[in-house]
Amino acid sequence: MAFFEPMQKATEPRHWLGDMEADHYFYGAGVMGQRFFEALRDEGKLLGSRCERCDWTYVPPRLYCERCFAELKELRDVGLRGRVKAFTVVYVNKQGEPLDPPEVFALIEFGPNITPFLHKLGDAPPERVHVGMVVEAVLKPPAEREGKITDIRYFRPI
């Protein structure tokens, strides 16, 4: 006999409910993340870290260059203004229910040789968003910033 006897009645199979959740997690921002978020919170600046050898700037800044593994020591302010490289309009939430209004996510380029930056777009009707559109970051007021990525509310067209 190659197989075991199967269950035959729809009521026979049992299932067991459970989870794989901890109470919560502390997700630290890291050595470079700390500098990025402090600059965002306290000075309203977006920082990147530059690899001299590869002539490449990472935003948000990384401690190391992904390409050559050099330690990155130079931080630079990339400004709050960039261009839309790609975008999408999302219509549903995780439960499959409609998102009203829909959310617009985008990759934003701050310039040549800089990694694009993932964030949301706002103050723009989805149908008017296009690739190449110039946008700028809208920050929360200084008093409301917490040192989180959501200190940037979204990017809006200029």
Partner: protein
């Protein structure tokens, strides 16, 4: 270095739900079939076992604990690859090539129907400081990342939404001939384009529905394979590659797949894939991924796959059939088992055992896997029936 061939395959049918068995019983059934097919006794003949699984898909911390019994691997060398089935296959190939092992078993399964919060777990793979908080704020569906990548691909290659929708039509039609595939049907491009938008330009029907199932492959060193079976299917090349894990690092092309293909082709001596490859099975969890992956395999110039698909080049009777199994869209998104499901179809076709969907005169086939949103990791394997 030694040759490596597939000498046995086994699987369960792919289905939306499998409430009547747990993952051990599911896997046992696929394993029994694979060992029967290979004519081996796992308790005696197998030198190493590999399972491909991720903890959060399964709901167990250290899922490796729960892997040996159902494969016959108790008190034997066995380990888990936290990756797609083709990554497991790569480990098996290397183990045999070293000379350490003669016969290796690779298993991957999906019991994804048991995960009640799939979308949340997908988001858990995003960077928890820079990426996840953005979608968590309004509980946004994590497949927005696929929408973003699709938009980038369409914009930079000129591929159209109709061409992507045609992928769904073709896959679901191919699946009608595959008894393992649960999602075969007939539909039109307009049906797909008219389905609700998920994340522009991605439509609901362009997302592969998930499925449960298990695939087990038995590999053997070439000199043994010849003795074990009549038609060993040789793994002529296998490659894998990961791009930067940052969502924002994505480009329009599937660089991971391109590099994985380069590695596999180099081993297989493939310099002109269009000439040397007869058909392909590629991951298409999202319709546009099929086109992007076909281009990464060098089977179409960048931006041309969509047009060629409409011309019928990749259909079952085309010049270069792609996803005769129905792919992920027709056979189901099998999570980490996706790569082995692709490989399984390639093996069945090369053996001439694909039944109603058998392609004529095929000798070399290629399988391509992708680890899904939000990652850029993929693997490519080239299989051949040697005459």
């Amino acid at each position: 270095m030694r040759d490596v061939a597939i000498v046995g395959v086994g699987c369960t049918p792919f289905r939306p739900l499998t409430p009547e068995v747990n993952w051990k019983e599911l896997t046992f059934q696929a394993a029994v079939r694979a060992y029967e097919d290979a004519g081996i006794d796992p308790r005696r003949d197998v030198d190493s076992f590999i399972t491909c699984a991720e903890d959060f898909w399964e709901g167990f911390s250290i899922f490796d604990e729960f892997t040996p019994d159902q494969l016959g691997a108790v008190l034997r060398p066995m380990h888990t690859v936290t990756g797609d089935g083709l990554l497991g296959l790569a480990n098996a190939v290397m183990q045999i090539k070293t000379g350490l092992c003669d016969v290796v078993v690779v298993e991957a399964h999906s019991k994804i129907s048991e995960l009640l919060t799939f979308e949340h777990v997908v988001e858990l793979a995003f960077d928890s400081v820079y990426e996840a908080p953005l979608s968590r704020e309004r509980d946004v569906h994590p497949y927005y990342v696929a929408g973003l990548e699709m938009q980038l691909y369409l914009h930079e290659t000129g591929t159209t939404e109709e061409q992507c929708a045609a992928v769904v039509v073709q896959d679901k039609q191919n699946a009608l001939l595959n008894p393992l595939a649960p999602y075969g049907t007939r539909m039109s491009v307009d049906d797909v384009l008219g389905s609700p938008p998920l994340s522009d330009p991605l439509k609901r029907l362009e997302v592969a529905p998930r499925a449960d199932g298990c695939v087990v492959l038995v590999l053997a060193a070439g000199e043994i394979a010849e003795r074990l079976c009549e038609v060993p299917i040789y793994i002529e090349g296998i490659g894998w590659c990961s791009e930067s894990p940052w969502i924002a690092a994505r480009g329009a092309e599937a660089l991971y797949a391109k590099r994985a293909a380069q590695m596999a082709y180099e081993q297989a001596g493939i310099t002109n894939p269009l000439q040397q490859i007869d058909f392909a099975e590629v991951d298409d969890r999202f319709a546009f991924k099929l086109l992007q992956h076909v281009e990464a395999l060098g089977l179409a110039h960048p931006g041309q796959a969509g047009k060629l698909l409409l011309d019928g080049m990749f259909s079952r009777d085309g010049e270069l059939p792609v996803n005769p199994s129905g792919g992920c869209l027709g056979a189901g998104d099998l999570i980490e088992a996706g790569g082995l499901a692709r490989a399984l179809e390639v093996v069945l076709q090369l053996r001439g055992e694909a039944g109603a969907r058998q392609l004529p005169d095929v000798e070399t086939g290629v399988a391509l896997s992708w680890r899904g949103v939000p990652h850029g990791t993929g693997a490519v394997a080239v299989f051949r029936r040697r005459s």
